[in-house]
Each structure stands twice: as C-alpha cells, then as structure tokens.
C-alpha cells in the first residue's frame, strides 16, 4: 500500500523536491552574503543609536537584491500550502472517482479505510515536510533582516515577525497551513467528486481562512495589552485631518519594537475616546501635538507584544493541525461509508 501511494505521488514529489533543492541552493548562496552585509554594516556590535548602520544595511540589502528575495520568499511561503491543497489534496481521491479507478483500488486485499489512511498520511506528511523545510530555510535566511528591524525603525524593513504579513511566512505555522490545506483539498474533493471544481473551491476556502485568521482570530489568541502613552513619547505617522477629526496613528510602539498594533485611539484624562480635536488646537497646527498634550490627551494603544511570537506560532499551528485532523476524520468516514 505504501508502495502504491508512493508510485502515484512520485511525479509530484519529484517536482516538489526539485523546487525545494533549487530554493535551498539560492538561499544558501545569498544567505552567506546577507550575513556578511549584516556584519560589515556594524549592526552586530551596535547596541544604541543604530539608525545609521541600519540605513546602510537596508541600502545594501536593497541594492544587492536581498529585499526582492525576501519578499519573494514570503509570497512563496503563502502559496505553498495553497498549492499543496490544490494540486496534492483535491485530486488525491477525486481523480480516482472521476477516472473510475476507485472500484479497482477498493477491490484489493487492502481495506478502503487503510487505503485512505495511508494515502492521506503519506501525502499529508510530504506537504508538512515541504512547507516546514522551506519555512525553516527562509527563517534562517532572514534572521539578519529581522535583527536589523529590531534594532532601529526603518520603513524599508519588515515591522516585526508578529505582524500579519510576516507571521504566516516564518516559524512553524506554514507547516500547519500546509497540512490543513491538504486535508481541506481532500475533503472538498471527496464531497464534490469533481477535480477542477474541487481545486477551485479549495483555493477559495483556504484563501478565506488565511484572510480571516489574522483579522478575526489571531488578535484574540491571548488577551491583548492596552497601554496609554503620553504624546511626547510616540512618533507619529499621521495626525489629525483638516475636518477637525482627530487621527493619531503611531508608526510603532514607543520603547519596544516589533509589536503588532491592533488599535490606537486618543483618550482624555478620564480614559474616554476623543474623536474631535479641540478647536483651540486646530488653530495652531505648528504646536498641534503640544496643545493636545496640554489638554491631557494621550494615546491608548492595544497591541500584541513581539515576545508572544512563539506562543502564537504554537497555538496557531495547533489550531490548524486540529482542523486538519477533523477534516481527515471526515474523509475517513466518507470513504468508509460511500453513498
């Protein structure tokens, strides 16, 4: 049975192996260069006032193509689970339905439940390994970039590993996504029984899950921290608009880097949210912030600190693995008692 599962999966496995090997070579060659840039820029030994070495490092990374590789890696890590679901998961059992080979497969000495478990387990593990390996390589490769981002604020660098765009493209969650997407593909295929619609549906559902997770669920995996800062402590990316509506948007958390800002609003001394800027302050745009401070207005920021990165990684991976197991169970039941 294992041999059959391997023979049916061989061409896909070869393609994935070749792609992983190519990625490994490219990342190894450029990773050495990136680490050297980090060392030469002086960031390795810098502890305070790292703005200038960070700017120099960013300039070098950008001009040597490192930035393009980094973002390409992020995109690929989001794509791989989707591809595993579409090209490995959805056709796995559906193709046998469509081409009629199912009746042959189910009339062998191997029981259908065992057939399903071996197929699901074998290809599911391959999806986990492929996505996990690539994530490991990119995580190691991009360590200097995240280290530089943690030392000084620079708009060209990623804001921190816990922010939504980068969270799903590093650490261990890509492996969880891949197993989930694969199980989703198989389940949709078993239910729809037609390969191409199953592939399209898998993509749509997985994309929806990937969008909803950081928007609705991840912010609440642990109770967010709420802190109120004096305006003088915050560096702003936007302040107020000309209609008198008060907008205070901090570019980053004061005093700590890389946190994930969930919401921020100006509050008065009693802790109530301020929506309109006081008229007196609108009249003096040059000293706008000082005027607000003088009236006791502070900025309340709700955020998830960067130190929760690994905690969130484990929880989210666990959620996706549980979901994948549930979907696998669904497939198992469906195969055991086909309608």
């Amino acid at each position: 049975m294992l041999w059959l599962a391997w023979r049916q999966f061989r061409s896909q496995a070869v393609v994935a192996g070749a792609a992983l090997a190519a990625a490994a070579i490219a990342l190894a060659l450029t990773g050495v260069h990136l680490a050297a840039l980090y060392r030469d820029s002086g960031l390795a030994t810098c502890t305070t006032a790292c703005g200038q070495p960070t700017a120099a490092f960013t300039y070098d990374v950008r001009s040597s193509g490192g930035q393009a590789i980094f973002y390409a890696g992020v995109v690929v890590l989001y794509l791989i689970p989707a591809l595993a679901g579409i090209f490995w998961g959805a056709p796995l059992i559906t193709r046998e339905f469509e081409s009629g080979t199912l009746s042959l497969a189910w009339n062998q000495s191997v029981p259908r439940t065992r057939w399903a478990v071996v197929k699901l387990g074998f290809v599911g593990l391959a999806a986990l390994a492929a996505s996990g390996l690539l994530s490991l390589m990119l995580t190691l490769w991009s360590r200097p970039i995240y280290a530089a981002a943690a030392k000084a604020n620079n708009p060209s660098l990623p804001f921190g590993r816990i922010s939504p765009l980068y969270f799903g493209a590093g650490g261990i969650v890509p492996a969880g996504y891949a197993v989930f997407a694969f199980a989703l593909g198989v389940s949709v295929g078993v239910l729809v029984r037609r390969t191409i619609p199953a592939m399209a549906l898998t993509l749509a559902v997985f994309a929806a899950v990937q969008v909803l997770m950081p928007m609705l669920i991840r912010p609440h995996l642990a109770p967010p921290v709420r802190t109120t800062y004096a305006l003088a402590a915050v560096s702003f990316s936007a302040t107020g608009d000309s209609n008198g509506r008060l907008i205070l948007a901090a570019a980053e958390l004061p005093g700590q880097r890389g946190g994930w800002i969930l919401s921020q609003r100006p509050v008065d001394t009693r802790g109530h949210v301020v929506t309109q800027a006081p008229q007196a302050c609108n009249a003096q745009p040059a000293a706008f912030l000082q005027c607000l401070s003088g009236r006791g207005i502070r900025l309340s920021i709700t955020y998830q600190p960067a130190s929760r990165y690994w905690e969130f990684q484990w929880i989210e991976t666990g959620i996706f693995l549980v979901l994948a197991t549930g979907l696998g169970g669904l497939c198992y039941l469906r195969v055991r008692r086909p309608s």
Partner: protein, 351 residues
C-alpha cells in the same frame, strides 16, 4: 458552436461574475471615503511642494482601506494566473482526458472552427474579467496613485513593479497570455493537472522576468548626473573595529513618481566610488570614522572635495502609459502566437 462553448463554460463564468461583483461592492463602498480624504488633505488643488501632505494622506490610509489596497495588488497578480489555470489549461485537455474530443470533432463543425470559437469565447471572457477588475481597482486606488505620484511615497508610485501589474491595461495582456499558455499546455500535455501546474510555473516565471529583465529596457531610460556637495549629499559612514569603514554617499534625487533603475555615486573619471579618502581611514586603515584622524567632519569634507557625482537611471512618471501599452502589446502578441500553436496542434492530432 457558440452555444456549446457557453454551456460548457457557464459555471466558470458565473463564479468569475460573482467574484467581480463582491469586489465591486467592497470597492464602491470604500472608494468615496478615500476620495473625500484626498480632497480634505488639499491634494486635489495642490500643484507645488505637495510631498508632505501627500505623504500624510498616504500614511493616513489605514485599516480596511490599507488592507484593500494590499489585497487589490495580490488579486491583480492572482487573477491572470487563475484565468490561465482554471479557464485555459482544462479547456481542451479535459476533452482529451475524458475522450469527449472524439464526439466534438465528429460533428458538422470543423476542428479549426471548434478550437477558434472555444479559444475566442472563453479567452474574451477571461480578458474582459481582468479588464473590468483592473478598471475598478484603478478607479478605486486613483487618489492613492495620485498622492504617490506627487511624491507621497517612495515605493507606491504607479511605475513601481509591484503596483504596475495591477493598474491600467496591462492586466488584459496578462490574462490573454495566461489563458493562451494554459490552453497550449493542455493541448501539448493532454492531461489537465500537469497542464495546470505547468501553466502556473510558466506564468509565474514570465511575471517575474518581465519587470526585472525586460520592462526597464522597453524604452531607453532617462539619466541625470548631478554634482554632490555638502548640502545634497547624504553621507553615511559605518565601521567595525578590524575592517575598513564602509562609506555610502547618496544624493537627493527627487522626481516624484519615477521608477529608479540604478543610482550610483561616481568619481569625476566616471568610475564608481570604491576607495574611501584617506581622511576617513584611521591609523592602520582599520578604524571607523570615530577614531579617524580628524573625526567624521573632516572625512565628510574630504568626500565632498572628491567632486563626486550622482548618476541615476530612471523611467520618468510620464512613461506609465507608453510602458503599459508596449507591455500589453507584447503579451497580446505572445498570446496570439500561442493560440496559433494550439490551432495547429489540434488540426494535426489524429482522433
């Protein structure tokens, strides 16, 4: 024949229409808000020195609007790929796999006509969907694009490779090419799944190669060479104990909306700056500027005395539409070529 093609294609067309409708509702609901904050930032009537207010406006685009802006870019890349994978690759490959091509080819309609109508109808729907998407997104993001063009952002201008692909007419060309590549892969491989995978790989490779290798040279880039003096030069010096200091000199090239292709600091002889002047090197050539003979100030004035110039090659903002037109043309020609290959292969095949 048109009726058969439509009947076979109906579910895909409905899915595409539904997706477009959802996107249209989202964009229509949020678009007016962006326009009004663009107006209230005073950008609609701003003509000179608008960089600061444009930058404020772009930084103020947050929450749902920012998520939508990023999502439209991702969708702009994905939509043509999906058209190629789900419309193109199965179009003829599925008939081969299921054996239905035998029935189809034994009707009164000739194979050439069968291929031409299938390709034409589904291809046109795919191109129309991509065009509609691009039109909606270009309308919605227009205030952000305008603000970036006024100098509000160093990386969101329309000519930047990331944004370029999701605006204007280029998505029509991408969709046509991806669709034709999918059909061709299906006709050549005669198996749906491998054809879909190959289509994805080929399209991704072409989309990567275009902005990095081809687009910069579609029109000869513009150049400027400006002298660097103490005011215009941003000089940064960093160093580690044990290695020579690293010196970077950057000018203040500012042409809002331009796509910078290369930015180099050159010496009067035209060579790139490689060796730092002696004033920047401390005793033993291994110290940073902090310990150099006269401190960082002397190092900087020594750099200024070298009469360095900043050389920038770029595509100016005004080339957005010419580049879009040329690129769309290239993709449409490629798509037509692939369509001809399909027709030829289908005619050649023995049933």
């Amino acid at each position: 024949m048109i009726w058969v093609s439509w009947r076979q294609f109906r579910p895909q067309a409905i899915v595409a229409a539904a997706a477009l409708a959802v996107i249209a509702v989202l964009l229509a609901a949020t678009g007016p808000g962006i326009v009004s904050s663009y107006r209230s930032a005073g950008l609609a009537t701003c003509h000179v020195n608008c960089g600061a207010s444009a930058s404020n406006f772009i930084n103020g685009v947050g929450g749902l609007d920012q998520a939508l802006f990023n999502a439209t870019i991702v969708i702009g890349y994905l939509a043509p790929a999906l058209i190629g994978i789900f419309y193109g690759a199965p179009l003829i490959a599925r008939e081969f796999e299921a054996g239905t091509y035998r029935i189809a080819w034994n009707q009164s309609v000739t194979r050439a006509r069968w291929t031409a109508i299938k390709l034409g109808l589904v291809g046109l729907v795919g191109v129309a969907a991509a065009g509609l998407l691009s039109l909606m997104v270009s309308w919605w993001a227009n205030p952000i694009d305008q603000a970036a063009g006024l100098g509000g952002s160093a990386s969101l201008q329309r000519l930047d490779p990331l944004v370029f692909n999701a605006r204007g007419v280029a998505p029509l060309g991408y969709a046509a090419f991806a669709f034709a590549a999918g059909v061709t892969a299906g006709v050549l491989l005669r198996r749906t799944l491998p054809a879909m995978a190959i289509t994805l790989v080929v399209f991704a490779a072409v989309q990567f190669a275009m902005p990095t290798l081809v687009r910069p040279h579609l029109l000869p880039p513009a150049h400027t060479t400006a002298p660097l003096n103490a005011q215009s030069a941003g000089i940064s010096i960093t160093g580690n104990p044990g290695s020579p200091p690293v010196i970077r000199v950057t000018g203040n090239f500012s042409k809002p909306g331009a796509w910078v292709l290369s930015d180099a600091t050159i010496t009067p002889s035209g060579a790139a700056l490689t060796k730092p002047p002696a004033a920047c090197l401390g005793p033993g050539q291994n110290a940073g500027p902090q310990s150099s003979a006269g401190g960082p100030g002397q190092c900087i004035s020594a750099l200024v005395d070298m009469h360095l110039r900043q050389y920038v090659a770029y595509q100016p903002a005004s080339r957005f539409w010419p580049l879009q037109g040329i690129e769309t043309g290239i993709y449409l020609i490629l798509a037509t070529g692939l369509g001809v290959v399909c027709g030829w292969q289908v005619r050649r095949k023995r049933p």
